[in-house]
């Protein structure tokens, strides 16, 4: 009882003293230049007070406001006391990257004393972002207290990494030994490389070099896998851009220079749908605006495609040069139309949260979600189109008209309507390609121009009229391009691919998968 009372008394007396140091440190956060602020953050972190965590987080996120009278306010509450406070005339406390890492480190160290194991696990990771001797000391203490096995492993790992910067060579050597197995991790590689290059102790440098070399083979294999994924991803973008053209140019034989603009219209439809969702849809639905954008983009592009076919192209069948010029003119008109409707500047189309970021495989190799989704989406679109052409009645009519128009008409197929619908289908697919491409590139009136040459390249290389040819051509061009790029650079890589296609077309004028039969002669 007496002990409890004494404790209470001690607490009562100790509290103000600590609170003073605490509020003093907090007040320092808005003072002077970045250098002073960093010192204030370090002082605050050294107090080991968990109340500092929300304040520092708010600071990193720009929510910490400083009133002209010096008081600090977070979301309408005083930062130290938590009492409601006026934020009139308050400005956000300015921070820069160095300060931001200092805050991350401080929050990380403070998280080590959190009662929540998940929080401690995150903290064990976070201390690595801003290595310092203080972090190492705190981590060492935290490990002694730690009960959770998983968190313990994470802490040991971080400690080993921090030890690499220790003044004592023995500790550094121990750190290298502990990390040798995980030398694929980019952060660890960075630390080890520094040791290998510039450690004063030859033993430590040698051990670091050995650890780095041990992972070399696996790293090389990973790089190849990464290149392959990037190639497939580029290929799927080419496939999406070209697949609509494979219908209009490949099946119908129309040289449609406005194909890129159909993609652009799809992207702008995505933008419009996104804006509509932002204005009217409930918050949970915002992430799924793309689902609504797909049919909308298909309909918009298809409608414009059909209008183009009925209004211009049908009068020009069999006159490729005039078709080329007419559709080129239409493409310029569409660009200018969009420019006057939406303005010349880029439009912001945000990735939904399920398409942001990525999954990190070993060795810093990233699979980004938007790329993964686009690869799957491209395959789905191709499969859907192939099924439509193979099994539906419309697909049958389409194939009949392109193979022998006169005979198809004689059999009662309305050739004119099939033409219009086929062109509409090709344009509509370009529209949904636009939905996907708006997720990786910018949405501007010139968007289509970047894809038109690539699209023709893929269709010609794959063999006019063959969907499989389009698939194989786009994937192989993507992969070849990505394997050339690290050696030749983006510029030369592109040129080499073009040269390769020109040579290939000399040898096989009809592309990879040449169609045999009547349509091939036309």
């Amino acid at each position: 009882m007496i002990r409890a009372l004494a404790l209470l008394a001690a607490l009562l007396f100790a509290q103000p003293a600590q609170a003073d140091a605490f509020s003093e440190a907090v007040a320092g956060l808005s003072a002077g230049g970045f250098g002073e602020k960093i010192k204030a953050v370090e002082t605050l972190a050294a107090l080991g007070d968990a109340r500092a965590v929300p304040i520092l987080r708010a600071m990193a996120e720009g929510r910490l406001l400083a009133r002209p009278d010096g008081a600090l306010v977070i979301d309408g509450h005083d930062a130290t006391t938590g009492q409601p406070a006026e934020a009139e005339g308050a400005l956000a406390v300015s921070i820069n990257n160095r300060l931001r890492s200092a805050i991350q480190g401080a929050v990380g160290r403070l998280g080590l004393v959190s009662p929540d194991p998940a929080e401690r696990g995150r903290a064990a990771q976070a201390v690595l972002d801003s290595p310092s001797p203080e972090s190492a000391a705190m981590l060492r203490k935290a490990i002694e207290r730690e009960t959770d096995a998983a968190v313990m492993t994470a802490m040991r790992f971080s400690l080993a990494a921090l030890d690499l910067g220790d003044a004592d060579p023995a500790r550094r050597l121990a750190g290298v030994a502990a990390l040798a197995d995980s030398s694929l991790d980019p952060q660890v590689r960075g630390l080890l490389t520094r040791l290998a290059q510039s450690d004063s102790d030859a033993g430590v440098a040698g051990a670091a070099r050995q650890a780095l070399e041990g992972a070399e083979t696996r790293l090389r294999a990973l790089r190849i896998a990464e290149n392959l994924f990037q190639g497939i991803s580029l290929g799927s973008v080419l496939l999406l851009a070209a697949i609509g053209l494979a219908v209009t140019f490949g099946v119908m034989g129309v040289i449609n220079m406005a194909h890129g603009e159909m993609i652009m219209l799809g992207a702008y439809t995505t933008f419009a749908v996104q804006e509509a969702f932002r204005a009217w849809a409930p918050a949970w639905a915002l992430d799924f605006y793309l689902v609504a954008a797909l049919p909308a983009a298909f309909l918009v592009s298809a409608a414009i495609g059909i209008a183009l076919e009925r209004g211009v192209i049908r009068f020009l069948y069999g006159r490729p040069l005039e078709t080329l010029l007419a559709t080129w003119g239409v493409s310029l008109m569409l660009q200018q139309l969009v420019r006057s409707l939406f303005g010349a500047t880029n439009k912001e189309v945000a990735n939904p949260s399920w398409m942001t970021g990525g999954i990190e495989l070993a060795g810093g190799v990233m699979l980004t979600w938007n790329r993964v989704v686009i690869v799957l989406f491209a395959v789905a679109v191709l499969a859907g189109l192939a099924a439509l052409m193979r099994w539906s009645f419309f697909g049958l009519g389409m194939r009949a008209v392109t193979q022998n128009r006169a005979m198809a008409s004689a059999m009662g197929i309305p050739a004119g309507r099939v033409d219009a619908l086929t062109f509409g289908l090709g344009s509509g697919i370009a529209g949904i390609a636009g939905v996907a491409l708006s997720q990786i590139g910018n949405v501007s009136p010139n968007l289509g121009q970047g894809y038109i040459v690539d699209s023709f390249m893929v269709v010609v290389f794959g063999g006019v009229g063959s969907l499989w040819g389009t698939l194989v051509a786009s994937l192989s061009l993507g992969v070849v391009n990505k394997f050339l790029e690290p050696y030749a650079g983006a510029m030369l890589g592109k040129i080499l691919v073009l040269v390769f296609i020109i040579l290939f077309i000399q040898k096989r004028p009809r592309g990879l998968f040449a169609l045999r039969g009547r349509s091939a002669e036309a």
């Binding site: 990257n97 160095r98 980019p186 420019r339 880029n346 970021g357 938007n370 910018n442 501007s444 010139n446």
Partner: protein
Amino acid sequence: MKSLRAVAGAGVVAAATLWGGVAQAADTIKVGVLHSLSGTMAISETTLKDTVLMMVDDINKKGGLLGKKVEAVVVDPASNWPLFAEKARELLAKEKVSVVFGCWTSVSRKSVLPVFEELNGLLFYPVQYEGEESSRNVFYTGAAPNQQAIPAVEYLMSEEKVERWVLAGTDYVYPRTTNKILESFLKSKGVKAEDIMINYTPFGHSDWQTIVADIKKFGTGGKKTAVVSTINGDANVPFYKELANQGVKATDIPVVAFSVGEEELAGIDTKPLLGHLAAWNYFQSVKNPTNEAFIKKWHEFIKSAKRVTNDPMEATYIGFKMWTQAVQQAGSTDVDAVRQAMYGQKVMAPSGFESVMNTNNHLSKPVMIGEIQADGQFQIVWQTKGPVKADAWSDFIPESAKLNADWTYPWVCGNCAEPKYKAAGF
């Protein structure tokens, strides 16, 4: 009464039209606007056309210039470099404009340069560029490399302790020259060749996977790494998206850009880009009365409070103000008289500093470094104490270090190692 006056006004206008072009030419001062309104560069240049129109509108509201109305003659060179030269000739020879505000890319400027020199025209060029030029007929109101690139790199060296550098750019004259200057600057600061990675990509490059992965790999070299980006135009959006998706954070590998401003960020979701940097001479977020008035005027003119202002717009503003002041001082729009009046001309700029036109046809401007915020604006993290004088010929390229630009006596030259006129021996 008011409607009566309107009717009378309409009558006067009608009469003036009947009188024909002769009367009109005498009553107005023509200002040429040579910015692409279609094609690749329309995205950036349309805004500058609007800025000039805003300034013309503004000066007409205040009673015009030398008692005359100012009339803007807008042409569209359509992002087509040879067409720039053709349109410039049309403006100078046919429309007889007193001054031209125009061009964005260096290649378009190089294309119109011979026309302006041949016909003795006057061009105000409002965009940051690679330097290595000073024409008598051009006033450069954007930044030279020593007003943008060099201070930005110095900031990263001292404040973020960067030791390893990726110089990434679009493949044309501005990035190539800037990177050449930066490379020799970095080497003069003791950075080793293996700590510099240079990478060029075509215009409108959209697949950044390999390059971003390479940057990440380069960043594991055991030293703090930063990217200096001279990537231009459309290619920026996919670049930043790829950076964000591959998880390259500004605290690990900061990217400092010289061609990304408020206008470019309007097309990107900036939340993942928090802390990446840009170097300019002006940001919309600068707090001072001149800037507030500038932003207010822009929002009223463009009739949208959502539109942003940016550095080339500010440079256009400064250029236009200086030109009107010089015309008033000279009492004429004659090119030679106005040029002489330009030197030493001062304008209180929206950056909050007084900009001065130097005798090398370049401005003195402050340098600012800003970090991207979640709302698409920049927060200024560093700025020079005062305006920095532009150096047309960089000191970091050996062949240009000895050259000087000065269009006043005794130099009278844009690229000379020695004055054209020897000082007489008295």
